[in-house]
Symmetry: C2
Subunit: 221 residues, 2 copies
């Protein structure tokens, strides 16, 4: 099966590239976070909330991945945070190669936190390692709690699962405990954070998690 | 750019295969519909509603595409409709090659309507032609009305856009007229159907559209 073999080589090259890029972050004590989700689950709202909470105390850089356009980068820049927009021109994910030019442009010497917002897609982004220390996936309650069974790879690669749009729980069919049970089977020890990025409920738990990781980085330096 | 050239060859081969498969449908007067959306927008609920409305009068076959599992196929089978589940084993879309074995299994001589539910993904499925006559995309109101700007290919290839979960409109930020305006630029003449597959609101418009197309097929025979 030559197609599969080729794919495996591409993934291995990307792993090596992403690992080298991550070492650069480590050398400068920068925390890297990859945010993934399906379309419209609330990744950009999460980035906005993070900017509001942390940009006063930490030096932040955001990289926005979208197939085309700069809607999300404009939203983030409006929060006063440095932001680079990557247009994948049709590609369904970010990878190390696409991030290369952006990684060269960021001011890594004056940086604490790098947030990378991946392309909205519950499938492909999970296959490609990025220069980050943690993968964070956002699932929103209107999507339904059956998603782990259908998109297992992304959940199995996530360190944090943000259950977003909990303000809509009364109006949708979403079983929080069934979701958690299914996700724990794919990724034991995963951290769950229930949130409404819209109302702000639960955002403080996410910020506390991030600050703990940021303090860990600083101590390391 | 050898990578792009290879991709184009793969897509061209798939176009040819899907066209041949569609000719088989034409020979038997079968209407083929490809249903696409991001994860959790309501494709399976749409198929369930369609089965409830039409399976008494038309001979239906459903093909369910999922990365893994058979949750959706079980839901459809519970409506008394013939259903084949395809597991893509990680692949982010269906294509003609994956559909080949399923197309060989369906009882095409005793069939009016073939519904193919694609993998939940707003990106990749739009690139691969299937043996169908119409592409139907489902967007749900909690996803936000900015999606056409970010995922233009899927909207540009759709004949019908179902705006689902309109029961949630009071609780989410979704601008129906802005969405329609953006989509019309990508696909002039597209048919919009506002619906709540959950409450049943608007389902009759979808059923009417389908029945019109089904009657057209039968006359052709």
């Amino acid at each position: 099966m030559p197609k599969l073999a080729l794919m495996r080589r591409v993934l291995a090259s990307n792993d090596a590239l992403a690992a080298a890029q991550r070492k650069e972050l480590d050398r400068h004590g920068v925390l890297g976070i990859n945010i993934m989700s399906g379309p419209g689950a609330g990744k950009t709202s999460l980035v906005e909330r993070t900017a509001e909470a942390l940009s006063g105390n930490y030096r932040m850089q955001v990289i926005e991945g979208d197939i085309q356009g700069d809607l999300d980068a404009r939203r983030v820049a409006a929060k006063g945070v440095r932001c680079i927009q990557i247009n994948t021109q049709g590609a369904c994910h970010l990878d190390g190669l696409m991030l290369g030019p952006a990684m060269g442009e960021i001011d890594i010497e004056n940086l604490d936190l790098l947030l990378i917002e991946n392309v909205g897609n519950l499938v492909c982004p999970a296959e490609f390692a990025l220069p980050v220390h943690y993968n964070v996936t956002v699932i929103s309650t209107p999507e339904g709690s059956d998603k782990p069974a259908k998109y297992p790879l992304m959940f199995s690669k996530s360190d944090v699962l943000i259950i977003n749009k909990i303000d809509l729980l009364p109006f949708v069919d979403f079983n929080v405990s069934a979701l958690k049970q299914a996700v724990r089977k794919l990724r034991p020890g995963i951290t769950f954070i229930e949130m409404s990025a819209k109302t702000g409920e639960g955002v403080e738990k996410w910020v506390a998690w991030l600050e703990q990781k940021l303090r860990g980085r600083r101590r390391k330096q």
